[in-house]
């Protein structure tokens, strides 16, 4: 692509070093800019009235007393806001799935505790909450569905009239000759695994500040969004535009806008021609069979987009964590923007923790009945899985629970050489908060598969290590098309991490430690789990899940050099703890041959950055985000070198840049600088402001690797008297390619493992059978503290791939591997099959036979 040698692997520069975080220069002195910190003068504060019932119809609502309270600017009922907004249409349609449409507020029926029915805007949050108390709502309570069993049972009250009972999706896939493989295997072993509900729980809740320009009505939305561009389009498309037809005809008459639009459409179609052709209409047909109205909703959204002359600007500043929960467009985001537009006044909603627990994003309540066809020597042959996913009440937008099922379809056989695989997955509706992606949204496939491997090993009387070693796909058999479609590449092999991890365990010592634990009235066990993760995946990964879907996955980048020589890089990522600023400066500084402080990174502002469907998510920040920064910087550097070569009367091949000094190799004293080159170009072009050099790029990640791989090994010590757990050792051997910044990668791995530890031993988002949420505070939803999370030992493999950007994603892996390693360790310690993911002390004592269940 370029004639400049890759500095990435040269051992020079910032990449690969534990460079301190530039973000911390603000954060540590209290100068972060989180959404709640904006609090603009005169803003109205929002509070939502939320349903106290899990399932009910609304008979009446009276907001008059509330609206009369001094300090209250306006109370909107659901009906009022729904009238000026469009339905959320399904975006990912899959064969066998029906996605119910819904509005930003609930006016006829509420479907979970916390469902919003009215919105108060007042001078202060205190007054807004006072007003909530004065709203009179008459509900008629309906039978609620609180469990997967209830959702599967016929004849119950339905959440959605057009669904089959409460089943929304019935999705199947198979690979290989399942019937023959199962018939020929020595035996078939079956178990059912359950995982209860969890919630992402970033320390910062959701929030949105909508600033209205009094002169133009333009909305500037400051939001905790992982995907600001998607939010911008969603708001533009979901707010009903009063003058839509007038605007549409204006649009039709405006030659420039028409031209720009058709150019953009043409560009999109030509870039994605192949992918558009690949698109499978089966998903649309499934949706149409149940409900045609999405066509109207999509059309209205499209018309909203065409007819509006002015899309909002979305700005995401500092974000206090998300773990997937802030990638969706919240119903509250739309309600708030609609309210701001109606009132012509700036408004803000800072979610409180109770609201966040009610509906800030929930995940992983799933059940799997898995059958493995195996031979007596431990050879794994086939896998059949019946899965049910509890999707809650409303589908999150745009990435719904259905995407988890698509990913299960690709991942479930994991890094093992199965010959056949069949998945039947149901998505059910229950009266609970919405399901969002949570750090490795598909991760329970790893949990149940790795747990099942231990079950099988025990039945066949072989070790947990041996069954994995025997079946893991090894480099010598790659590259290979994985059973479910995507390509596996030898440069990133799970087998290597498994071998290395096992080397790091002293199994003789383990036996002694187990005996010592027993002597103390404890039990000690060891658990292994291995997985591969598409981060970002080989080029055919997403199209294997859903043909054509990879067209959403470009990552664009832009780089500029200003007239004064400043280098500015624009990313479409929306960082929320991953330290993008630091790592992208490292990458770009190395390419430009300058110091990190010479690079400015711009993110989060839709007026300044390029479109991205996903923003930050799916472990893309390293491989794609940093990848496009690197490529863009490299191209821009080439532009500068060309000019500098002329200025220095040298060949561009002879130019090097060291510490910002652009010079002929070996002649640093006769150098020039970015500022000089920029000044020269500016004076030639008579440009005084704006960039003098500019480069824009699209990037999909190149090369056929794209896998992050790891093996986790956990040691768990259980006190049989109290059920208390200790984790004396936790080992992660991971390979995410060459590391940009080990301090940051270690943090990602540890943070993920900590959430896995939380899920297994502490956290349960507990709804009762009537779908009442019992864990509405941090006294009930237990997030582990520094006392519960041990030191986590990390071994990096750093294999180079064949791509242009070797870095692989690492954000999700910790959470993917941990639940399996931990529950396997518990099973080993107690000598029982562990069939559930959540194991608080009382449950451990039950499993140990100390107390009865």
């Amino acid at each position: 692509m370029t004639d400049i040698p890759d500095r990435q692997t040269s051992g020079l520069g910032f990449v690969g070093q534990r460079v301190k975080r530039v973000e911390d220069e603000r954060f540590l002195i209290g100068e972060g800019q989180f959404v709640a910190d904006l609090n603009p003068k005169g803003v109205l504060h929002a509070a939502f009235l939320r349903s106290p019932f899990a399932h009910a119809t609304l008979n009446s609502i009276d907001v008059s007393t509330a609206a009369a309270l001094p300090g209250v600017a306006r109370v909107f009922t659901a009906a009022e806001l729904n009238a000026v907004t469009n339905s959320f249409p399904p975006l990912f349609m899959i064969e066998g799935l029906y996605t119910p449409l819904y509005k930003c507020m609930s006016e006829d029926k509420v479907r979970h505790i916390g469902d919003p029915v009215a919105l108060v805007l007042a001078e202060s949050r205190y007054i807004a909450e006072d007003a909530l108390e004065l709203i009179e709502v008459e509900y008629h309570e309906l039978q609620a569905t609180g469990t997967i069993d209830q959702a599967l049972a016929p004849g119950r009250e339905q959440l959605w009239d057009r669904a089959d009972g409460n089943i929304l999706g019935d999705i199947s896939a198979d690979f290989g000759d399942v019937a023959t493989i199962f018939a020929d295997a020595d035996r078939v072993i079956t178990r059912t695994f359950n995982c209860p509900r969890q919630t992402n729980q970033p320390m910062e809740t959701r929030g949105s500040v909508v600033i209205v320009d009094p002169a133009t009505g333009h909305l500037e939305i400051h939001n905790t969004s992982q995907a600001p561009h998607f939010l911008k389009w969603a708001v533009a498309g979901l707010l009903v535009n009063d003058g839509a037809f007038r605007n549409l005809s204006r649009f039709a008459r405006n030659k420039d806008r028409r031209k720009a639009f058709s150019a953009a459409a043409k560009a999109f179609v030509s870039t994605n021609k192949q992918k558009l052709l690949e698109q499978d209409p089966a998903g649309q047909k499934s949706q149409m069979k149940k409900d045609m109205s999405f066509l109207r909703a999509q059309a209205r959204m499209a018309m909203g987009l065409l007819a509006s002359n002015d899309y909002p600007t979305v700005k995401a500043g500092d974000i206090g964590g998300a773990f997937g929960s802030k990638g969706s467009v919240s119903r509250e985001d739309i309600a708030l923007a609609a309210a701001a537009r109606q009132l012509g006044t700036s408004v803000q909603w800072i979610e409180d923790r109770v609201e966040n627990l009610l509906d800030g994003g929930q995940a992983r309540e799933e059940r799997f009945t898995v059958s493995l066809a195996v031979d007596n020597d431990g050879t794994l042959k086939g896998m059949k899985v019946d899965a049910v996913l509890d999707g809650g009440a409303y589908a999150s937008f745009p990435v719904s629970a259905a995407v988890t099922v698509l990913l299960w379809k690709l991942y479930m056989p994991g890094p093992y050489d199965f010959k056949a695989f069949e998945l039947n997955a149901k998505i059910v509706a229950t009266n609970k908060g919405k399901v969002v992606p949570y750090r490795g949204p598909w991760a329970n496939e790893t949990w149940m598969r790795e747990r099942m491997l231990d079950v099988v090993a025990k039945e066949l009387d072989i070790s947990a290590a041996d069954i994995r070693l025997k079946n893991v796909i090894r480099e010598e058999n790659m590259p290979a098309a994985f059973l479910t479609g995507p390509t596996l590449d030898e440069t990133m092999s799970v087998a290597k991490t498994l071998d290395r991890a096992l080397e790091m365990v002293d199994f003789d010592q383990l036996e002694q430690d187990k005996a010592a634990a027993e002597a103390r009235g404890h039990r000690l066990g060891l658990g292994i789990s291995s997985y591969h993760e598409a981060a970002p995946g080989p080029p055919n990964f997403f199209s294997s899940a859903q043909p054509g879907s990879d067209m959403f996955l470009h990552e664009d980048g832009r780089a500029e050099i200003q007239a004064d020589g400043r280098i500015v890089m624009y990313t479409s990522q929306s960082p929320h703890g991953q330290s993008h600023q630091t790592t992208y400066k490292q990458v770009a500084a190395d390419e430009f041959g300058v110091a990190m402080e010479d690079i400015e990174i711009v993110w989060g502002d839709t007026d300044r950055t390029q479109f991205s469907f996903l923003g930050t998510g799916a472990s893309r920040g390293g491989p794609l985000g940093a990848g496009v920064m690197r490529m863009t910087a490299r191209e821009l550097r080439n532009q500068v070198v060309k000019v500098a070569a002329d200025m220095l009367e040298a060949a561009k091949e002879d130019i090097e840049i060291v510490n910002g000094n652009i010079h002929v190799v070996g002649v640093p004293t006769r150098g020039t600088t970015y500022a000089d080159v920029a000044a020269k170009v500016a004076s030639d072009q008579a440009v005084s402001t704006g960039p003098v050099f500019k480069e824009e790029m699209k990037y999909e990640g190149v090369g056929n690797g794209g896998w992050s791989v790891a093996t986790h090994i956990a040691w768990v010590d259980i006190d049989l008297e109290t059920g208390q757990v200790e984790i004396p050792r936790y080992l992660v051997v991971e390979d995410c390619g060459p590391i940009i910044n080990p301090g940051i990668v270690d943090g990602q791995v540890r943070g993920g493992v900590a959430q896995g530890i939380g899920a297994v031993f502490y956290e349960r988002h507990h709804y009762d059978d009537n779908a009442n949420l019992l864990s509405t505070t941090y006294m009930d939803y237990l997030i582990p503290t520094a006392m519960e999370i041990p030191k986590i030992e990390i071994e990096h493999m750093e294999t180079l791939t064949k791509g242009e950007n070797d870095a692989r994603g690492v954000g999700e892996g910790g959470m993917i591997g941990a639940p399996a390693a931990l529950t396997n360790a518990v099973s080993d310690a107690l000598g029982v099959d562990v069939l559930e993911q959540h194991l608080p002390p009382y449950r451990l004592l039950e499993l140990a036979g100390i107390i009865s269940s």
Partner: protein, 180 residues
């Protein structure tokens, strides 16, 4: 003083005097406003964060007369006459970071940093009371603060780095938060 009922609208305020980060302020605050809201809104010091507003996460921790306190669980009027230190008050007068801030920087302790103000305050109090805590004591000392991003190891590393930094400064920990 009688607190207004839950539905009493805004308007009524009480005068308090409070020292914040070394500056004595006279404020008129609404009696029902939490200390956290007074700090964040009335004084515009937004470095103190609100993660749960029910006393568990510790993000709102400040030093009140030197003691780490949850600003979300107190009313602003209760701080009348008190000395408050927030994250903004930690840096030295010359603008350089407090040794605990410096140490957390070196250790790359945080990610999203929403929890950071609370951890800094708790660490300062911990090290003032026990200048050389063991790892277990550090973990115990920080167990009133939740961090969802880091798995805590980097924060523990930060505290250990702070111990070394402070010891090498020999002057000991800055007595931030002590009444002046």
């Amino acid at each position: 003083m009688s607190l207004p009922s839950a539905t009493t609208p805004a308007g009524e305020t009480l005068a308090i005097n409070v020292t914040v980060n070394g500056t004595l302020l006279s404020l008129n605050v609404e009696p029902r406003h939490s200390l956290a809201d007074v700090i964040r809104e009335d004084i515009s010091l937004t470095g103190t964060h609100l993660g749960c507003e029910h006393g568990v996460c510790g993000a709102c921790t400040i030093l009140l007369d030197g003691e780490p306190s949850r600003a979300c669980l107190m009313l602003g009027v209760q701080a009348d006459g008190a000395d408050v230190v927030t994250i903004e008050g930690l840096a030295n007068n010359d603008g350089t970071m407090h040794p605990v801030q410096q140490a957390m920087y070196e250790a790359m302790s945080f990610q999203c940093a929403f929890c950071t103000p609370g951890f800094l305050m708790s660490t300062i109090a911990l090290l003032r009371d026990n200048p050389s805590p063991s790892e277990v004591e550090i973990r115990e000392g920080l167990s009133g603060n939740l961090c969802r991003c880091t798995g805590y190891q980097s924060i523990v590393d930060g505290v250990e780095t702070a111990i070394r930094l402070i010891a090498s400064n020999s002057a000991g920990i800055d007595p931030v938060g002590e009444p002046t």
